[in-house]
Amino acid sequence: MCGMAWEGYATMAFAPIDETINIDQLTRDPYSIYRRLRAEAPVVTVKSIGRTLLTKAADTRAVKDNAALFSNNDPNTPMQRAFQAHTLMRKDGEEHMRERMAMTPTFSPANLKTLWIPAYEKLAGEYLDRLPRDEVVDLFPALAGPLAARILAIILGIPDATDEEMQYWSQALIDGAGNFGYADEPFARVDACHAAMNAMVESRVPLLKAEPDQSALSVMINAEDPIPFSQVLANLKIAIGGGINEPRDSLLTVLFGLLTNPDQLDEIKRTGNWSTAFEEGLRWVAPIQASSRCAREDTQIRGVDIRKGEILMTVQASANHDEELFEDGHLYNALRPKSPHQSFGSGPHHCMGTHLARATIGKIMLPMIFERFPDMQLVEPEKVVWWGFGFRGPLSLPVKLN
């Protein structure tokens, strides 16, 4: 009796288990699920994905900020297989920091100011120039995807990779890393991409050894105490896998938000507060919706027992809609009172592209596109499909320019 009572008590203290939520629902309409979870079960184990979801802002932030207790090393994901490497995204402490710091010089404030931001500004003008006027154009494939690919190829030090290659590689890495069913096709596709990416990178090494620049590849291979070449490749692939969809999806999301709220757009045009409009888009639909962490020890979150080894999904998408911080969080509102969102993550794995994104999209692209096309109109916005659980954004953004 005693044992049973104890078991009953122990079961009560662990996170409740939800057996109704599935990955399809989370892919199509995660926000209504998260709203319910925030109210009813903010720490909940979702059986179909085998992970415990944290949906409150205070909890997602606290877990990410406490790297001593919550590891990035989620051992049972297809990511390592997809990336053919154990990458810095899944490492902790000194090991993570060494690989991260290998790339940080590229993203220094000085390099952003003198190299990457001016390069982006020029490219943005060129890519906008070539958009067709007076016909419906989908800004996903015509602008947001290729522009994100181009600036990334330059910053990484592989400028010969085409926009199409960069986007194809990126999607293959994402699909492989998300291949939780371990199907053959995504792995076969990403394996083929590795061969192409490795060849592209290796072809650049002698050139960058001879003439170093500030690109990520150059900085990593020319460092005094370089990281192993396998990790140079892994770092570049992490950047390729994450560095296209995020700027692409955030730009499309902000444009959708502004174009469906013309009164807000008018006010932003008047104030020039494009950065705020950008941050609101990131808050509204976080391009990376959730990030996993592994409990290193038995612990508690919000009074719920968490076992050592339990995998937690910190759902920043939900944190960004938390009623405790945001009124009507499900609505895009570029004029809402400022409150920090968590879309760039926090703690030691805080997004390395944060400053670049804020400077390029928030400060350059948004004012530039509305200056060029002040009467840009969304075409049938109700038909735009929003998609994704781990990564999320609109699948198209058809507009008429003028």
Binding site: T104, A110, K338, S346, G347, H350, H355
Partner: protein
């Protein structure tokens, strides 16, 4: 325990107790002081824990290192000689009574 006072842009003062060895940023977060965001959690990789050290205290806190100064380029509010990233100021008994002013915006 050393006491630290945070002054909001509107002039509101919040005084909290800090633990020796914590950063000023950690002290703010632990006490729910608004106006310090600290996205990167103290790794000097963002500039969202920007503060202005009260001039009476500058001699004791010191000024920003070169690396910190460089990261302050990303700060959302005006950078002044007394600007610091609060994650880079470690609380010691010597800083009991420290006053820092918070900027208008961190993002």
């Amino acid at each position: 325990m050393p006491k630290i006072t945070f002054v909001s842009p509107e002039g509101g003062r919040t005084t909290v107790e800090a633990s020796d060895g914590d950063s000023v940023m950690q002290t703010a977060l632990a006490n729910g002081v608004e106006g310090i965001v600290a996205e990167c959690g103290g790794a000097m990789m963002c500039a969202t824990c920007h503060c202005y050290v009260d001039e009476d205290w500058l001699a004791r806190t010191g000024t920003a290192s070169d690396e910190e100064r460089s990261m302050l380029d990303f700060a959302a509010s005006e950078v002044r000689p007394e600007s610091r990233l609060s994650c880079q100021i470690t609380v010691t008994g010597d800083l009991d009574g420290l006053t820092v002013h918070l900027p208008d915006a961190q993002i």
